[in-house]
């Protein structure tokens, strides 16, 4: 992407001197109020978080707010919950991304491939989980599906004569991955289905004449065509999945132990269960750092896809 951008600039030297004065003209001045507002919006909370992270700030011992340097960071990182939390965050993001992209592509390809009665209804049904609040969907899964006594899965297990599994107790992280995937798969389907409709029909017909079967068309035409929307899905979902909280709070409360704790939940735990705002702020900053590392890696890997092509 960078090289092509450079090429166009180098190829049209006349464009460079014309582009320069634009940054000095009223445009900059006119957007400055919104830029300033956004900057404040970001800087103030960030500054306060940095400040809190450097002082002792425990709600149980008010008034003792002395400067402690990086102690909060040290305690957060050495907290027994930190390593599992970080790992679970990565596992959660990675698995949900994999599930929503793979199944998203397959489901939207299937929907696109065949005309059948009620396709419109099926589309709406497929997309609707996205519009359900995280707390509500987590409760639905907890009480109606995973519950070892009243859940549907338990009923199925019993029907086949097996011992019902207490999913949230024995496979907490996997259960949460299921719940979150159920919510985010529709988003992937929505984006990919729309993208698939924009695939040029002539290209498909040309490929048919070239001897490509449905699988070859999927592999050589549909998938490359979907590269860009898949990149969009991965980017957007990553941003939201790094901060999954409600699903964990309503189902497992991060347990048993730290088995389903992610960083967001750990920070909540520090701030509002252990009342240590200073340490929670340090955790928040570490989470910001991790999110930024993830963002840089993603942009390196996928951003190319977004600016390149067509």
């Amino acid at each position: 992407m960078n090289s092509s951008a450079l090429d166009t600039v180098a190829g049209t030297p006349a464009a460079a001197p014309r582009a320069k004065p634009r940054t000095l003209k009223p445009g900059w001045f006119l957007v400055s109020p919104s830029v300033a507002l956004l900057l404040l919006w970001m800087i103030v909370p960030l500054g306060m978080t940095v400040y809190f992270s450097l002082i002792r700030y425990n709600l149980l011992s008010p008034g003792e707010n002395e400067f402690v340097g990086l102690e909060n960071f040290e305690f957060f990182v050495t907290d027994p919950g930190f390593m599992p939390g970080a790992l679970h965050t990565l596992t959660l993001v990675g698995s949900v991304l994999a599930i929503s992209v793979i199944f998203g592509v397959l489901i939207s390809a299937l929907l696109e491939a065949c005309e059948f009665w009620g396709r419109g209804i099926v589309r709406v049904l497929l997309i609707s989980p996205f519009f359900i609040m995280p707390t509500v969907s987590a409760l639905l899964w907890k009480n109606l599906i995973f519950h070892p006594v009243s859940g549907i899965l338990a009923a199925i297990w019993r029907f086949f004569g097996a011992q019902p599994v207490d999913w949230l107790a024995h496979h907490p992280l996997m259960s949460i991955i299921f719940i979150v995937s159920w919510q985010w798969l529709p988003f992937a389907i929505l984006i990919l289905m729309t993208a698939m409709q924009s695939l040029d029909q002539d290209q498909k017909e040309a490929a048919r004449l070239d001897g490509a079967g449905p699988i070859a068309i999927f592999w050589h035409l549909t998938l490359p065509h979907l590269a860009r929307p898949i990149a969009v899905v991965v980017m957007i979902e990553t941003i939201f999945l790094l901060s999954v909280f409600a699903e964990i709070f309503t189902t497992t409360s991060g347990g048993p132990g730290y088995e389903s704790t992610n960083l967001a939940y750990l920070i909540y735990n520090q701030a509002l269960l252990q009342f240590d705002v200073g340490m929670a702020s340090a955790g928040g900053l570490i989470a910001v750092l991790i999110a930024n590392i993830a963002a840089i890696i993603l942009v390196r890997m996928i951003g190319k896809n977004l600016t390149d092509q067509q």
Binding site: D200, D202, Q203, E205, A206, A207, R208, L209, D210, G211, A212, A216, H220, L221, P224, H225, A227, Q309, Q310
Partner: protein
């Protein structure tokens, strides 16, 4: 060999008959052009031949083998689309080799074929580029190249020039004509542009409303249109039509009394019309002459004129309001409203009966030949 024959082909979409029984033969190495107004079914007919649409009834056979229900890839045909339909994420080389790669042809053969097609179409230096880095004309050539590497029995073209600008269209038209000779290929070409039809075709098929109106060589169709539709469709500016009735008829000529006021005697050996039958006279713009007052057969009033430099197209109105176009020398330009007198070139006038079918000026023996 590539002899295509279509028998009683029909195609309907949701109860609407698009193709209403077509019989057609395409011989080896022929350049056949389907032409007609939009919605006449010409593209559908091509897509039926390609196998992209399912046939409702009738048969298509290639070299005696029935291909009506065969998969598109197995028909040994290649198609060039109006939008080119290049694969956007593949290089030109990969675009060209895609069909061969799918057929698992060995690498050396693929390379030889791709290089050969690239040489013919002068694409050698573009092989590593992506389609988006090519101009319209270059994309068009890649699309043709993709057809060439498959070495098909018949090339199908679906309005391949309509996305090009005027200058490039003329150039590509010539290249296509040259390619047809060089490759000794059989080609079927769909267009709505009669200039392409006239210049490229060995055989023109004029379609209208899902039926074949006339099949023949371009000049044959131009000089002997079988009916009013073909007469009006081919030729720019359009042929002028004048209503009239048949007067005296004898074995060698036929008298026509025009509503516009003139009386003409046309050479017709087998007129087949009774006196008093209503007919339509068709005259092409180049078969009128503007003559001094008193020497012509028809008085008209000049409407606007289009002066092209080489020729002037004078639009005129007859006394009863019928519109005609006359093609005259470029230095002549009548004033708006100026009265003019016309003489007909009666040897080149066309006559159509009440049903719109041409009353041929040739004798039955000449027609058969």
């Amino acid at each position: 060999m590539a002899d295509l024959s279509i028998r009683n082909l029909q195609k309907g979409f949701d109860g609407h008959a698009i193709i209403q029984g077509i019989d057609l033969d395409v011989r080896d190495r022929e350049f056949v052009v389907f032409v007609g107004p939009s919605g006449c079914g010409k593209s559908t007919l091509l897509r039926l031949i390609a196998g992209l649409e399912e046939v409702t009834s009738g048969t298509i056979s290639l070299d005696g083998k029935d291909i009506t229900d065969l998969a598109p890839a197995k028909r040994d045909l290649a198609m060039v689309f109006q939008t080119y339909a290049l694969y956007p994420h593949m290089t030109v080389r990969k675009n060209l080799s895609f069909a061969l790669d799918l057929a698992r042809v060995d690498k050396a053969t693929v390379k030889a074929k791709v290089d050969n097609a690239a040489r013919i179409l002068e694409l050698e230096r573009l092989l590593e580029r992506k389609p988006k880095q090519l101009s319209g004309g270059q994309r068009q050539r890649v699309a043709i190249g993709r057809a060439i590497v498959r070495n098909p029995k018949i090339f199908l073209f679906d309005e391949p020039l309509s996305n090009l600008d005027a200058a490039l269209r003329v150039q590509t038209r010539l290249e296509l004509a040259r390619l047809h000779k060089e490759l000794k290929a059989t080609m079927i070409y769909v267009t709505h542009d009669q200039v392409e039809a006239m210049t490229l075709a060995d055989k023109v098929v004029v379609l209208n409303g899902g039926r074949v109106e006339q099949v023949g060589s371009p000049l044959d169709l131009y000089n002997h249109p079988a009916n009013l539709f073909v007469a009006g469709f081919l030729g720019t500016p359009k042929m002028g039509f004048l209503r009239g009735t048949v007067g005296a008829v004898d074995g060698s000529s036929c008298e026509v009394q025009l509503e516009a006021g003139a009386k003409l005697t046309l050479p017709r050996q087998a007129c087949g019309q009774k006196a008093g039958a209503s007919v339509t006279l068709g005259v092409r713009p180049e078969h009128f002459n503007i003559v001094p007052a008193g020497e012509g057969q028809l008085q008209v009033v000049a409407d606007v004129s289009e002066r092209l430099g080489s020729d002037t197209y004078c639009h005129v109105r007859t006394a009863n309001g019928e519109q005609l176009t006359i093609r005259v020398r470029g230095d002549f330009g009548p004033a708006y409203g100026q009265p003019l007198e016309l003489a007909f070139d009666t040897a080149h006038c066309h006559l159509f009966d009440a049903a719109g079918v041409a009353i041929d000026k040739r004798s039955a023996a000449e027609q058969a030949a």
